[in-house]
């Protein structure tokens, strides 16, 4: 049952990722990306990472995609003026090379027989986050603050205009 579900979900993920990169209109690409991230949250649930799945839906599909859609709305998109997508053979070749190298690396990693982890318990994550990883946690909050200030400063109107 879980295997069938995994194959269905991974097919959906590949289709939605293809639709992100093959759609001519960025609006459709953004909506396909929402679908992709949602499908990925389902994959996280299959891996018993419930907290990460919720964070994925809240942060990615909730916050980041709203930003994307907002920026798409800012741009003036004319359906007729959008350029046709050219399948560049060299880029496809490079991506294929990359994928085969990734396959090679993953085929050399040792396989584990079955998952040892029972569940991604939120209390254990919190314990790890605030004991062993407390310094990276603080650094990441600083990074988010800097990114927020940077985005505001970049889009401020300068006084000289």
């Amino acid at each position: 049952m879980e295997h069938i579900l995994f194959y269905v979900i991974s097919g959906l993920a590949i289709i939605s990722a293809l639709s992100v990169i093959l759609n001519k209109n960025p609006v459709y690409s953004a909506l396909s990306l929402v679908g992709f991230l949602f499908v990925q949250a389902i994959l996280f649930v299959l891996l018993k990472a419930y907290f990460i799945a919720i964070v994925q839906v809240l942060v990615y599909t909730g916050a980041i995609m709203v930003l994307f859609v907002y920026v798409v709305m800012v741009m003036k998109l004319n359906e007729e003026l959008l350029p046709r997508i050219r399948l560049r053979p060299f880029s496809l070749f490079l991506a294929g090379l990359f994928a085969s190298y990734l396959f090679y690396i993953f085929s050399k990693t040792p396989t584990f027989s079955h998952p040892v982890l029972k569940t991604g318990d939120i209390s254990e994550i919190g314990e790890l986050l605030f004991s062993k990883y407390v310094l990276p946690f603080e650094v990441i909050s600083l990074l988010l603050l800097v990114a927020m200030v940077g985005a505001v400063v970049l889009n401020r109107k300068s006084k000289h205009e």
Binding site: S29, Q40, L47, K48, L102, F106, F112
Partner: protein
């Protein structure tokens, strides 16, 4: 070789294809998001196979970094669009002389 790793590498390669193939700045940034998300998938799969939660913590940090990257990148795209009136990468030839 685990099937989750195969799926993650296929999705990562699709993201690389998008970055190399597309000429729209927004779609390029979306492809970068695909790559980040697929690396998250590989991390979670590895974490659940090793049997500890360190991969989950790493994914949390990864999501935060992706949020910061999207915020700054989209701000830059808005400025570029205001100045150039286009989002096609091939049109950015100011340094060409």
């Amino acid at each position: 070789m685990n099937e989750y790793f195969i799926l993650a590498s296929i999705l990562f390669a699709l993201g690389v294809t998008g970055v190399l193939m597309r000429r729209n700045l927004l779609v390029i940034l979306m492809s970068v998001e695909i790559m980040l998300a697929s690396s998250n998938l590989a991390l979670i799969a590895a974490s659940s196979h090793v049997g500890n939660l360190h991969g989950h913590i790493f994914v949390l940090f990864n999501i935060a970094v992706a949020a910061a990257e999207a915020a700054v990148g989209l701000a830059l795209i808005v400025i570029i669009y205001k100045n150039k009136k286009t989002e096609n990468v091939d049109q950015f030839t100011s340094l060409h002389g």
